[in-house]
């Protein structure tokens, strides 16, 4: 398959993940959308690396996976703390930054 196919696939997954981020109410649901977007990025990286015979794509992908894992861990920890404090994790209710 040409490079374009992989890139298009990644773009689709990215868009779907964005849709999830924008529309989910639950904070955990938003994080799931973010996961999808990051996955799409990884596909992109690896595809480019493969088609340019560059190992950097794979290595970069490794890094992003690790960072994503860390981010998910901390993010979910925050969500749990919010739940403890405010008994809700509905994004609509977490509007303390309101202007």
């Amino acid at each position: 398959m040409p490079l374009g196919a992989y890139l298009t696939l990644a773009a689709l997954v990215f868009a779907i993940g964005l849709f999830g981020v924008l529309t989910r109410r639950n904070a955990v649901g938003i994080l799931l959308g973010i996961e999808l977007m990051l996955n799409a990025v990884n596909i992109n990286l690896v595809a480019f690396g493969r088609f340019h015979a560059d190992l950097g794509g794979t290595i970069f992908s490794l890094f992003t996976i690790s960072i994503t894992v860390a981010e998910v861990a901390v993010g979910l920890a925050i969500v749990i703390v919010i739940f403890r404090v405010r008994r809700t994790i509905e994004a609509d209710h977490l509007d303390l930054l309101r202007g």
Partner: protein, 164 residues
Amino acid sequence: MTAEAPAFVAVAVVLLAASLGVVLTPNLFHAVLYLAVALVATGVVFLLLDAPFLFGVQLLLYAGGVVTIVVFAIMLTERLVGASIRQASRYLVNGALLSVAVFVGVVSFLVQMPASAPRPAWAADLTAAVGRALVGPFAVPFELLGVLLVIALLGALYFARTEG
């Protein structure tokens, strides 16, 4: 690699279907399961791209670790027995529009790509090369990554502590 094309199509379909499931299903728990499927499908894509090591890492960390964490989080944040894990969605149309727009924007660049070249030569398994790269040219980012993980661990511990 003529077997690659139908394989790609199949994996793509699975991946897309699972992604849609992640974002559309009302039940959060189901969403997590769909995510697991999507993550595995992504791993298969990596395989198709001659990155078996990455496939392994994906399965271990993502499909294994992240899904587990998320499940734990869901359990801790929703009222459990009898409680519904349903959630409605917010401004579906707007979100859909924007997502489509972003997709179109990205594709607009893709269509301007020159004609596809075939894949260059590539060793089947480059795990050793990856390892050598991690402690070679990419040593600093690798170490920093370690620091980051420590910080994340500490952060999570801090958040998880009980007050008082």
